[in-house]
């Protein structure tokens, strides 16, 4: 067994992914348990009488369940994506988490406090200091300049004019709009408007950041640019993020973990790789089928055991994406060794596997 020094080879391996993976063992920041939102007359009483109704029972009662029995733990500093098609209940779920929509049953804990038990005054305080939200259609105030919009949450808190404008200007610089501070929203492009929305949501320096399909209203090129911008900001700020999208590619690109919703229920939660390798249902695999697998799967995830006496070529780290190591693996005849953080070989990556995963996404 020819061991190759990992140190000499890793130099040829591309830079690690731009995404900062949140530590998988970070403590949960936002927890919701058995959350329900049912629309219709006497939904409360219905749910008290029958705490876990089936979809058919809800329909039979003439009600509509937008969120069904949702349980989630969102970790400190992670980008948590809630992903689903329109009407899947993802918008309602995020609004239940921020209590913009009053859940019918369940609990939402943030920093060990149950948000649903808070008085309106307490809720106002939490929202003023702990939460920020970015909206799909920007929700900019048409009568305020960029500066006025970004300073708005601070103004609502009662911060003095000079202080809030100084802070707002910092945020505007952060999103690269310093020269447009005096403009009105209608004078900006869509991408610029959403930058203002982002700056505004960050102005109070929230620990918890909700983004409701923030880039869906933008055209693809701008969307890509804004996703990069978002990742850049998160590297600097390390917020706990709940991000809604209907675009699986966006979810893969940005998310640490992804929750897939259908008809109000959460079907599966996991990293992109877990969803691709072990889809919980046909619905999930339908989403993942067209994904560029090479950009989702890691060398560690697809490697196979090494047969004794086999010759291995260059070593690749287990956490590297298949697409990132493809060139190195394909360059040599022998399979590549896959090594963990300590340099121990945990398996081999064959050329055929790389090719299958690179091409698989295109099928």
């Amino acid at each position: 067994m020819a061991l190759v020094s990992p140190a000499s080879e890793t130099a040829s391996i591309p830079a690690p992914p731009a995404k900062v993976r949140a530590a998988a063992d970070a403590p949960p920041a936002l927890i919701c348990r058995n959350l329900w939102k049912i629309y219709g007359a006497n939904a409360d009483a219905f749910l008290r009488a029958n705490p876990i109704p089936t979809p058919a029972e809800v329909r039979a009662a003439g009600l509509f369940a937008a969120v069904r029995d949702a349980t989630l733990e969102i970790r400190q500093g992670e980008i948590f994506i809630i992903m689903g098609l329109s009407g899947s209940g993802k918008s309602t779920l995020v609004r239940c988490l921020s209590r913009l929509v009053e859940p019918t049953a369940g609990s939402v804990f943030y920093e060990h406090q149950n948000l649903l038990r808070m008085t309106p005054a307490e809720l106002i305080q939490v929202r003023r200091h702990k939460m920020g939200m970015v909206f799909q259609n920007f929700a900019l105030l048409p009568h305020r300049t960029v500066l006025g919009n970004v300073a708005f949450p601070l103004e609502v808190q009662g911060m003095g004019k000079a202080e809030r404008e100084a802070r707002a200007l910092q945020m505007i610089e952060l999103v690269g709009l310093a020269e447009r501070a005096g403009y009105y929203p209608r004078e900006l492009s869509g991408g610029q408007q959403q930058r203002v929305g982002i700056a505004r949501s960050l102005a109070v320096e929230p620990a918890l950041w909700f983004l409701d399909e923030p880039f869906s209203a933008l055209d693809p090129l701008i969307r890509h640019e804004m996703q990069n911008e978002f990742l850049r900001l998160q590297r600097m700020l390390s917020k706990t993020i709940v991000f809604i999208t209907h675009d699986f590619d966006e979810a893969i690109r940005l998310g640490d973990r992804i929750a897939i919703m259908k008809d109000g229920a959460i079907i599966q939660v996991g990293t992109a790789e877990e969803l691709v390798l072990n889809p919980a249902s046909d619905y999930v695999s339908a989403f993942t089928r067209h994904v560029a697998r090479g950009k989702v799967l890691t060398a560690g995830g697809v490697c196979v055991p090494v047969r004794p006496g086999e010759t291995l070529a260059a070593a690749v780290p287990a956490t590297a994406l298949v697409a990132e190591v493809a060139e190195a693996v394909l360059a040599s005849e022998a399979p590549a060794a896959v090594v963990d953080a300590d340099g121990m070989i945990i398996g081999k990556l064959e050329r055929a596997t790389v090719i299958a995963n690179l091409v698989g996404g295109v099928q």
Partner: protein, 663 residues
């Protein structure tokens, strides 16, 4: 409803022919009183002993309101006195500013602070118009106010303007607050909407009668009537505007931790700015519309001049001059407030220029006023610089009398003999039972038994309250003018829908026609046709024609292109396509226009009673001069009921028709 829509239900091939029976009963109710006048006389002419003294009851109610009603700490009378006192004081401010200035001390050594100088005001209006709408609006603003100045209308116009300003401010503030309240408290919304619906069908005049009774004659009651009339649209617009604010903005307010007050004033109301300003424009228009009517109960100003001229035998020239001043004021204020809606926020140099223009205007206004301490001519333009066209207009009137009289008179006589008199005689002689039966039958066909009952109750008010002759005169004038207005408006709207140029031209024409206060229509009409039903008819047609044009144009423009192509591909000629495809599709929209025509005709009817009709409007007018609130109110109610009747019947028809077409 289904009986009408599906007369031959598949499951009941031989169902009971209710429709034929209803039609038979209606025919009997109409024909029998004619056929057997001796035994069924009671069914033809409403017997006097059956008349319910509704006017007396209303009168007694108002007396009770004004004398005996007490809320414990204070009486109703105290309340009305307090309100009128409050407005009296408030009115002093704009009055001193625009019209009278302030004088301290007696005549000897009195110290006088001048009112805003005419030169300053004209300069400010011109500059601010430029700010709002560029050179064209500036020219319009300048010309409008310059006309008022040079033709000696300034004093009256400023009395009017000070009332308009206070009425608009109160109407906008009150309407906005009420609208917010209705938006915030959903339980109130239904009640507010119902009240608004009712207030908009009651003719303006009807407000005057109880106001005179409770508050007395004078500028304050004139202003209160104006506010009552002009405020409802603001309430409506506010409710609609707040509902139209994107839900995301409401969520933003909550997510940033706004208190309810902050959410309202920092997010919702500013975001609804454009729609709210449209409401402000409406309030201004309605306020100006009331200028002349409010003058009937002592508002003074330009309205009084117009009214006074109408009362005098040879005052028409003066009246036209004052009327044109009202028109100038109305058009300038309308266009300025409309330009305000269009004004978008800007940044940087453009914003600085706007601020600069605003301050220059204000400086000109105050500077000229300061200068008028030294030069009184700047406060009041000396008489020798003023021009009066009064003589010229009198000459025009005489010329018209000499040269056009025979033609106009021939038209007048022809219309009277061949159209007006026969219809009027027929309608007044119509059996009242027959009228009720016709309304009931029609309403049944449109909306079933319950609907028929409600509609019949509305029309029954006219005979029961003893208003038969005046009521039928109203119906006759209204229906003839609605038919003529529709016959004129439809083809015009059709032309508008066919060509862009015509569309633009008609749009501008309708805008102008709607800006003119209703009273102004009477002046030229009286000049041509003298006093009487023909004048009223022509004025009503001119005033009420606008919606017929607008809705036809709009309705035809909304026919989907695919439908038109389908018509063409089926081999329709142009006329066939219009008659068989486009008109049927646009008919519901056009009928909504006709509905508007009826509403406007009813409101104009009351105004035109001033030129000698003998309808319900006349009774209101008489009631004002006799201070008999009961008669005025009952006539006002009768007109309101007629309006509601027409509105509900047409509304029902349109709804059914649209449903059937799947729109």
């Amino acid at each position: 409803m289904s009986e009408v829509a599906l007369p031959r239900d598949e499951t009941h091939p031989r169902r009971f022919p209710v429709g034929w029976i209803v039609a038979g009963v209606v025919a009997l109710a109409v024909l029998v009183p004619y056929a057997a006048p001796d035994s069924f006389g009671w069914a033809k002419t409403y017997p006097a002993r059956w008349i319910v003294p509704i006017s007396d009851w209303l009168k007694a109610f108002l007396f009770w309101l004004s004398r005996d009603l007490s809320f414990g700490l204070f009486t109703f009378k105290d309340m009305t006195r307090f309100v009128s006192g409050l407005f009296g004081y408030a009115l002093e401010v704009p009055k001193a500013l625009f019209s009278s200035g302030i004088t301290f001390g007696d005549e000897e050594g009195a110290f006088h602070i001048p009112r805003l100088s005419w030169a300053g005001l004209i300069a400010a209006v011109t500059i601010w118009s430029y700010l709002l709408g560029g050179v064209r609006l500036a020219v319009l603003g300048f010309l409008g106010f310059f006309y008022i100045l040079i033709f000696g209308q300034w004093d009256s116009a400023m009395v009017t303007l000070s009332q308009v300003i206070l009425a608009v401010l109160t109407g906008v503030a009150g309407g906005t607050l009420l609208g917010i309240l209705a938006y915030r408290v959903p339980r109130l919304e239904g009640a507010v909407v119902a009240a608004l619906d009712f207030m908009q069908t009651v003719p303006t005049f009807a407000y005057l009668v109880p106001l005179v009774f409770l508050v007395g004659v004078g500028p304050v009651s004139g202003m209160l009537a104006t506010i009552l009339y002009a405020m409802p649209p603001m309430v409506r617009v506010t409710m609609m505007a707040l509902k139209r604010v994107p839900p995301e903005l409401d969520e933003l307010a909550r997510m940033t931790g706004c208190e309810p007050k902050q959410a309202l004033w920092k997010v919702l109301v500013p975001s609804a700015r454009d729609d709210l300003l449209v409401g402000v424009n409406q309030v201004i228009m309605l306020t100006l519309n009331m200028i002349i009517i409010a003058a009937m109960i002592g508002a003074g100003g330009l309205g009084f001049d117009v009214l006074n001229a109408l009362r005098q035998a040879n005052g028409l020239g003066k009246g036209l001059e004052a009327g044109l001043a009202v028109v100038a004021l109305a058009i300038v204020l309308d266009r300025m407030s409309r330009a305000l809606v269009e004004l978008r926020p800007v940044h940087g140099a453009a914003a600085a220029r706007r601020r600069q223009l605003f301050w220059i205007g204000l400086a000109a206004l105050l500077g000229c006023t300061l200068l008028s301490f030294a030069f009184p001519a700047l406060e009041k333009l000396p008489a020798e610089y003023r021009v009066s066209t009064g003589n010229m207009w009198s000459d025009v009137v005489s010329w018209v009398n000499v040269n056009l009289f025979s033609t106009a008179d021939a038209i007048r006589t022809f219309l009277l003999m061949n159209l007006l008199v026969p219809v009027k005689t027929f309608l007044i002689g119509f059996p009242w039972v027959g009228l009720l039966a016709v309304v009931a039958g029609g309403a049944w066909a449109l909306g079933g038994w319950g609907f028929a009952l409600g509609m019949t109750a509305l029309i029954a008010f006219i005979p029961v309250a003893g208003l038969w002759e005046r009521g039928m005169t109203t119906i006759y004038l209204c229906s003839i003018s609605v038919v003529i207005a529709t016959l004129v408006g439809l083809p015009l709207g059709l032309l508008g829908s066919r060509s862009e140029r015509m569309h633009k031209f008609l749009g501008a024409m309708c805008d102008t026609l709607q800006t003119l206060p209703s009273f102004v229509y009477l002046l030229p009409v009286v000049m041509l046709f003298r006093i009487g039903d023909v004048s009223a008819l022509v004025a009503i047609v001119l005033y009420a024609m606008v919606p017929a044009i607008r809705f036809t144009d709009h309705g035809l423009r909304r026919v989907p292109p695919s439908l038109q192509e389908a018509g063409t591909m089926a081999g329709c000629t142009g006329t066939q396509r219009l008659a068989k495809v486009e008109l049927p599709y646009a008919l519901p929209e056009i009928m909504l226009g006709v509905n508007q025509v009826i509403m406007m005709a009813l409101s104009m009817l009351v105004v035109s009673s001033f030129v000698g009709t003998n309808d319900l409007g006349k009774q209101i007018q008489v009631a004002i001069s006799q201070a008999d609130p009961g008669k005025g109110l009952s006539a006002g109610l009768a007109i309101a009921f007629l309006g509601i009747l027409a509105d509900r019947m047409i509304g029902r028809w349109v709804a059914t028709r649209r449903e059937r077409m799947g729109l």
